[in-house]
């Protein structure tokens, strides 16, 4: 936290990552171009997850619920009513914000394993609700948003999210906002308190902090980022379905974060990208790609609990945020 040189280096690194991703769109072949756009949206989900797990020390197994809240919050109004794509995105954010706030007020009364169970139960209830109301949500079959619904007109020019260039840059914008938001948060005074809660919550309380409020802030930020990723996913990739509310997606967020490095700002991007391509490549050989997910999870927990960037930080880069 002290020293301007360190702050400059950190800012330079993260801006460089964004610049490289911007440049990559001119070089990548079409297939990977689409993949990287998808990875950036999913990374935003993992970045939000990491705010809660990596910087506050709260383990959730229900984050698919916030992703799905953003997905449905944006997707349903677009599908049923003729509202603008940006307004729909805003509704997605609002839905996840409201859900995270209400959920946090209740769930944060528990801690540790109890908190974990509560997240799991709420998310399961949310998932079952998306099936129960299948006349509206179309359940696990889901629905596809038309290209017309996914068009934004800005200053007389219309952009369609079906256009690969618009899709890629919108995904990059979402990713950059979440990542830089996470960076700003963890380097702010609030972030300092969140890390203190992760390290020793009773002590933090005896330093005079209302840890409940700080955990609530972390949960809301985390939930809104996950919701932004969900809303972005609906707009960019057109499909909305209850698969995204299953526990599998909560576990993905956990896995991406662990693989990249829990408690590192760039870890979720590294983890999401690696896992995405690992499953993609494994899919060429076998239909049981979930086996790959399981094996990676086991290897990580047994040998690399800090993840890739976490191990890197421990060995060589102590300044990495």
């Amino acid at each position: 936290m002290s020293g301007g040189g360190k702050g400059g280096r950190i800012a330079a690194l993260h801006l460089a990552v964004i610049a490289v991703l911007f440049a990559a769109q001119f070089l990548l072949p079409a297939y990977h171009h689409g993949n990287v756009a998808r990875i950036m949206v999913l990374t935003s989900f993992a970045v939000g997850y990491n705010v809660l797990l990596g910087y506050t020390g709260l383990l959730s197994l229900g984050h698919a619920m916030f992703f799905a809240a953003g997905l449905y919050g944006a997707g349903l109004p677009l599908y049923y009513f003729e509202i603008g794509a940006l307004q729909a995105f805003g509704l997605g954010l609002l839905a996840s914000l409201a859900l995270a706030l209400c959920f946090g007020l209740v769930a944060l009364r528990a801690s540790g394993i109890a908190f974990l169970i509560v997240t799991l139960m709420f998310a399961q209830a949310f998932f079952l609700a998306t099936l129960y109301f299948n006349e509206i949500t179309l359940g696990d079959q889901g629905f596809v948003l038309s290209e017309q619904a996914r068009t934004v007109t800005l200053g007389g020019v219309s952009f369609s999210f079906a256009d690969p260039v618009v899709k890629y840059n919108a995904a990059l914008l979402l990713f950059a906002c979440c990542m830089l938001g996470c960076l700003a948060l963890v380097r702010s005074p609030i972030g300092r308190v969140l890390v203190a809660i992760r390290e020793n919550e009773p002590r933090t309380r005896m330093l005079g902090y209302n840890t409940y409020v700080y955990k609530l802030i972390a949960l809301v930020v985390s939930g809104v980022m996950a919701g932004a990723a969900g809303a972005g996913y609906a707009l960019l990739f057109a499909y909305v379905g209850s698969t995204f509310a299953t526990i599998q997606y909560s576990i993905y967020a956990l896995l991406w974060t662990l693989l990249g490095g829990v408690g590192t700002v760039l870890g979720p991007f590294v983890g999401t990208g690696l896992m995405f391509y690992l499953i993609d490549i494994a899919g060429d050989f076998t239909t049981s790609y979930l086996l790959v997910v399981g094996v990676v999870l086991l290897v990580l927990i047994l040998w690399y609990p800090k993840g890739l960037l976490g191990s890197l930080r421990a060995r060589w880069l102590p300044w990495l945020p």
Partner: protein, 248 residues
């Protein structure tokens, strides 16, 4: 000088099941004094200061601080009023740097939202670390400090909160004799700005520092007075000083 009452407990009690750990205690503390609480193990000393700091809720009774009733305030709210507690078992953020440890305390008393007052925090940290002679250890992880220095770091965290009342629970436990001397020096220095409440087993330290001594036994206060009065009190000698005083 007319003494101003800073802290007052009225018939405060804490029961753990059938055990009255603190049994209807009336305790008061004047502004600016160094008060030591002594007593045998299990006398209720730590329970009493836990009630004062808000770590525990009293079963009954009332606590007031600077003229206001604080019985219902939570521990983090009491820190905001200026009641700061340092733990008996050293409690620091071991994997965070010394700077971050103290900055957390400084930030609490200086405020700081999303962007905060980092220069002011840095200055407060620097001052606090200099007081405890750790100002060359900013970047070291707190858990890597030797034990005696960890205790000093905890005092620095207390200082950075700018307390009105600093509660130290057995601060010299585990310190080497040389460290104890400089620790006493430090306490006296802090006492020029804050009231100090000290739980201490080391009688030479108590006799050297305390302006008044409160003796507890089985959840009650059995004596209170200046150090020489306490030394001569027969009830105190029977309950507590008997053996350890002979050694001292």
């Amino acid at each position: 000088m007319a003494a101003v009452t800073l802290l007052e407990t009225t018939a405060v009690a804490k029961r753990f099941g059938g055990l009255a750990a603190v049994d209807h205690v009336d305790f008061s503390l004047n502004q600016g004094e160094i008060r030591a609480i002594i007593g045998p193990n299990g006398a209720g000393k730590t329970t009493l200061v836990s009630l004062i700091s808000g770590r525990l809720r009293p079963t009954s009774g009332r606590i007031s601080f600077a003229g206001e009733d604080i019985t219902r305030l939570k521990s983090y709210q009491r820190v905001g009023r200026g009641i700061v507690y340092t733990f008996q078992v050293t409690s620091i953020f071991r994997s965070l740097s010394c700077y971050e440890n103290v900055a957390l305390a400084a930030q609490r008393s200086l405020g700081g939202g999303l962007f905060g007052a980092e220069p002011a925090i840095a200055e407060r940290v620097e001052t606090a670390l200099r007081h405890v002679n750790l100002d060359d250890r900013h970047e070291l992880a707190a858990g890597e400090l030797p034990y005696g220095h960890q205790r000093l770091l905890e005092v620095a965290m207390g200082l950075a909160l700018d307390p009105k009342l600093l509660i130290l629970d057995e601060p010299t436990q585990g310190l080497a004799p040389g460290e104890i001397a400089s620790f006493c020096e430090l306490i006296r220095h802090i006492a020029s700005r804050a009231t100090i409440l000290l739980i201490e087993h080391n009688m030479p330290v108590v006799l050297e520092l305390a302006s008044r001594i409160t003796v507890m036994d089985r959840g009650k206060i059995i004596a209170e007075g200046a150090p020489d009065e306490i030394e001569g009190n027969p009830e105190v000698q029977r309950a507590y000083l008997g053996t350890s005083h002979a050694e001292a």
